[in-house]
Symmetry: C2
Subunit: 226 residues, 2 copies
Amino acid sequence: MDTSLPKSDIFKGLTRDQLSGLVEKGRRIILKPKSVLFHQGDPAASCFLVNRGRLKLTKLNEQGREVIFRYIGAGELTAAITVLKRWAYPVTAESVEETVVVGWDKPTMIQAMHRYPDIAINLMGIILERIDDVQHRYLEVCTEHVDQRIARSLLRLMRRAGLKHPEGIQINLPLSRQNIADYSGTTLYTVSRTLSAWEKKGWILSGREQIVVTDPHALVQFSETG
Amino acid sequence: MDTSLPKSDIFKGLTRDQLSGLVEKGRRIILKPKSVLFHQGDPAASCFLVNRGRLKLTKLNEQGREVIFRYIGAGELTAAITVLKRWAYPVTAESVEETVVVGWDKPTMIQAMHRYPDIAINLMGIILERIDDVQHRYLEVCTEHVDQRIARSLLRLMRRAGLKHPEGIQINLPLSRQNIADYSGTTLYTVSRTLSAWEKKGWILSGREQIVVTDPHALVQFSETG
DNA sequence: CGCTCTATTGATAAACCTCAAATACAGTGG
DNA sequence: CCACTGTATTTGAGGTTTATCAATAGAGCG
């Protein structure tokens, strides 16, 4: 069995042996692209670590409109909150590409935290960062214009999933206009128009489900001043 | 000294004596209406419990536009996050009426958590509820129309600060149109127009900085369907 | 090559904001 | 009690932003 694990914040402080012991207790799941790991309100959802690939975390509102909270990649956790709460995690996780995760159920996770208190501390840190992140994005979506928000979305994705590319930095993720819209709180039409305009300005290059940011500085400038 | 403390989630599980010992270690602060307890990015901010009155938690964006995250009342905590993180809490807390808070610095709080592990567990629970709340509001602000969001804001405030009133439920809080706008992510003009319309429909009564919800059911209905 | 999914673009409408001006209200000091 | 002042609120007009709808083009795949 492949016991290699990516570096992850949650297990910082553990030795190699402790870590592989934990991994053995986990359930390894391989997801094809666009398959659902757990669904909004799924009571069985427990704690998952992404080993390879990437998950999209979303939420649907009553009318069925989707919002993307974040994309999480190798070494990142999701649904860790459920370990500490009895309610189901109100978020859906879906792979955007072939993805491998390791999942632990609540009892295992709680036992692990007792044995290695570092895990609990790390978990706390991760949750606090998430809260800060959502709060900041809440501020943005309340106060900023759509195009500013699109710019921020691209920059955020670029930082988390950026790859070197001859013309700039490529967002290494299958990313449709609809995805960007769901991530920015707008519609695919507005995204399309906005990206077209930026492409004319030379700030980005765009293709089918692909974006390359060619002038990050211009985007940053724009995202801050409008 | 007045050692009476409101029931608070954070100290659930502690005895009366343990609690009053803690209160004595805290610093009691009395705030006149509209005074700032701590400011966005203030490194000195530590953990505060509201004893009486109410605080408004806000954040300013780069252009100086304010967003209200939440109003917190007696028995509720704020800035608890700072206890566990080195960074400053990126939020401003301001009293909306005469307010009494008890504040503890980080070392005291950490010591207390060691002595009474219940506190750490309770704190965790509070933080998890907050994350869920912000995420849900993020979804709302991304997907819903302004008037739906205003309806949700009134309902939320009603549930947290509602008082019986001959005509319905009064929101017991000085609440200007601007406040509602900052809480809903819109402008005071739109709030004014919307409330006028609802008053004509008999859903609410409104006065200067005062709202009475006379038909909560209609508001709920509206907030869900548009 | 035809099928499906994604993206673009124009036209139109709706939602919402901004500005300006008028009005209502609460508190203060005479 | 009343005028005065500062703030809160309302409302209209006009404009901008953004969503919606519809039609077309393009890309990838078997």
